[in-house]
Amino acid sequence: MTTPVLDIEKLSIGLPPGADRAQAVTDVDLALRAGAVTCLIGESGSGKSMVARAILGLLPKPHVRIAGGRLLFEGQDLAAIDESGMRAIRGARIAMIFQEPMTALNPLHTIGRQLDEILRIHTTTGRAARRDRILALLDSVHLPDPARLARAFPHQLSGGQRQRAMIAMALALKPRLLIADEPTTALDVTTQAQILHLIRDLQREHGTSVLFITHDFGVVADIADSVAVLQKGRLVEQGGVADVLGRPQHPYTRSLIAAVPKLAPPPVRPASTAPLVVEGRKIEKAYGARGLFGGRAIRALAQVDVELRRGETLGVVGESGSGKSTLARAVTRLMPVDGGEILLSGHNVADLSRAQMRPHRKRVQMVFQDPYASLDPRQRVIDIIAEGPIIHGTTPAVAQEEARVLLGLVGLDPSAARRFPHEFSGGQRQRIGIARALALRPDILVADEPVSALDVSVQAQILALLADIKARLQLSMLFVTHDLRVALQVCDRIAVMRQGAVVEVGPTAEIYASPKHPYTAALFAAVPGADWQERASRPIHERTHA
């Protein structure tokens, strides 16, 4: 074994008084070796990003500081180094890539200029040599037409291209250690697969040590050599990727792995012949076409047809920009549509005004993506849930009584009623959001990415709750998600959307077994950790270890 590039010894990071715990991380021991990818995995609030910030001396001082331990990098203790010493290391010896490349790039400078700046500050190469190096770097991250991209501004690039440019910048000075903090979380699944490949290839080529921070076990399976699992600031398990994923020792690791939605063949269900409750015909929606000066329109929905039968769950799957959320908002009439028909049990609601729409609102309710943004921060939970019935004429006393019953139904304590949303965790807030949607006793529930903002263990609970409620109240559900694994688990039928159009729709088992459209097949192939999950679903003696 080689000596580690970075040796983290008993690292503790102190939090200011009043935080939910005294230390962000406590006594973390971690050795990052050359040529290896170490994944640090944990749920939100586990302190995983704090470790990365501590290494680079980027903790939000003075409130958060290193309380103990050493960070040995090339014979120096990074915990004790001064700011000028850290500057010489940061960027040159240790580089970092972030979750959102748009905020990490300067929007006013071209990609080439930003790369040039790094080379100019840290090296003595001449202008022409720097230019060649820039083009070589952009080429090495597989960006098409490096000469043109060097002249492009960050906003002219796609999310994946921006992340590639960030990686080129991070690797420009051939650092010994690369820290990647959730670098693919903001990307679409097909782009994510490409970026993971790229990081893996470049890391092998240069022998760089990589600390990869993530919350996704699928990503871990795809990229890691070794894994460290962080729970509430303590390392509960670490080891080789095959050991940790194949034979997890700690109960926390086991529960996390069990909660990962499986890319498993769904049971074949008989086709529903129940009556249609939602029928969309040739729905049209374009953005940005209106206004005084016109402007180029983006077609978010192009002649979309959608059918939802009573009691079934229809999954709408697609990448960002595919129009799936627009479809959800069109069906609930939260936004006007430009054309087509939306039939709720036979009534066309596509052209109704807001006042005319009001009586129909009871029938179709929505659960939103972001549990932090979808609840009014100034309302008590009981008022949030009771609001719908009160709007529709129920007396406040009765509505509040019903709201208390709903709290129990979604698995919240009655004492939650008098509290404010900020006192709850993300999963609990999503339960409140579900209770609000149920308060009007709808027939149809439209769920727009209801679990994508949640930790994986909470995700499983919310999905179970939705399934339970749907069965008990005999709801029909339109379930929008970017995660095929989740869609396989909860949906009877799946519609795959791309660039505003439905490219394929069919029973879940059929879509999984024999996707007809090449795009659907590409989506399945890009699911992180697909190989690992297929291996995991086979008996144990057949598993191969990398």
Binding site: R358, Q365, F368, P377
Partner: protein
């Protein structure tokens, strides 16, 4: 809101400002007891320097400067608070309508707002008072009329940002009316910035009032700080105290209001708060 007040209490400069304001408020309440009678009354020889029988001296007509300042404080606070409330009411209506309905409504309302912003505030205030004839009411109207555009733009921005938030969308989904969304959900969620900016407006209003009174556009029958300065400016070199003490009163009051306003801004506005 409770956490915001706790943060405010940790800000020493803001507490200092609050202490000055509290002192001013006590002075206003105690004025009838401390200085019984009309502040316009002649009580002693003219141009008495401070420190003698009259704590802050007397003016050219032999009126007690201390009494004038105490009565002037009442006028200044009344006009400052009154004009600010008027500006907030009007600004919230205009900004709220523009930010909520967007489109043509927004274009028309915001162009009107910008039109008001391009006219120098003080000149417009002079014009309005001159048209309405000088009185406390017309001063309040004039100052409110030049102060509302800032509030309108703030509220429009807040409403526009809130309009895209999911909880507003969720309310629309429940079938809520426009009025319900505006008054139950949007306004309560932008009270903090309105309070913070509004508190700073009081200081500006007091300054404009003093300026108007100095130019003789204040209510001639109501004592105010600007009026004292205006009366004393002819003897500035021989009787410095007449202009100096009301000047200090204005300085301290506006400073205190700004400190409190900044403190409120920091405490209530999460964007400015350090993480």
């Amino acid at each position: 809101m409770g956490a915001g007040l706790a943060r405010f209490a940790r800000n020493r400069m803001a507490l200092f400002g609050a202490a000055i304001l509290l002192g001013l408020l006590l002075l206003v309440l105690a004025t009838p007891a401390l200085f019984p009678g009309d502040p316009f009354r002649l009580v002693g020889p003219a141009l008495q320097p401070p420190g003698g029988r009259f704590l802050l001296g007397t003016d050219t007509l032999g009126r007690d400067v201390a009494a004038q300042i105490a009565y002037g404080a009442r006028t200044s606070l009344l006009i400052g608070v009154g004009a600010t409330l008027g500006a907030i009411l009007f600004g919230v209506i205009v900004g709220g309508l523009a930010g909520y309905y967007r489109g043509a409504v927004e274009i028309v309302l915001m162009r009107v707002t910008e039109f008001f912003q391009t006219i120098p505030a003080f000149v417009l205030a002079i014009l309005i008072v001159a048209i309405l004839s000088p009185s406390v009411t017309s001063e309040i109207i004039a100052i409110a009329a030049v102060s509302w555009p800032g509030i309108a733009r703030l509220v429009r921005g807040e409403f526009a940002a809130l309009g895209g938030r999911e909880f507003i969308l969720a309310c629309t989904g429940l079938g809520a009316s426009d009025a319900r969304i505006i008054f139950r959900h949007m306004l309560p969620n932008c009270t903090a910035p309105i309070i913070a900016v509004g508190s700073l407006l009081i200081g500006t209003a007091i300054l404009i009032e003093a300026g108007l009174a100095f130019l003789g556009l204040g209510d001639p029958n109501v004592m105010s700080w600007g009026l004292i300065i205006s009366a004393g400016r002819a003897v500035l070199r021989s009787a410095w105290w007449i202009c100096t003490f009301p000047g200090i009163a204005i300085l301290l009051t506006v400073l205190a209001i700004n400190l409190v306003g900044d403190g409120l801004n920091e405490a209530l506005n999460p964007r400015l708060r350090e993480r």
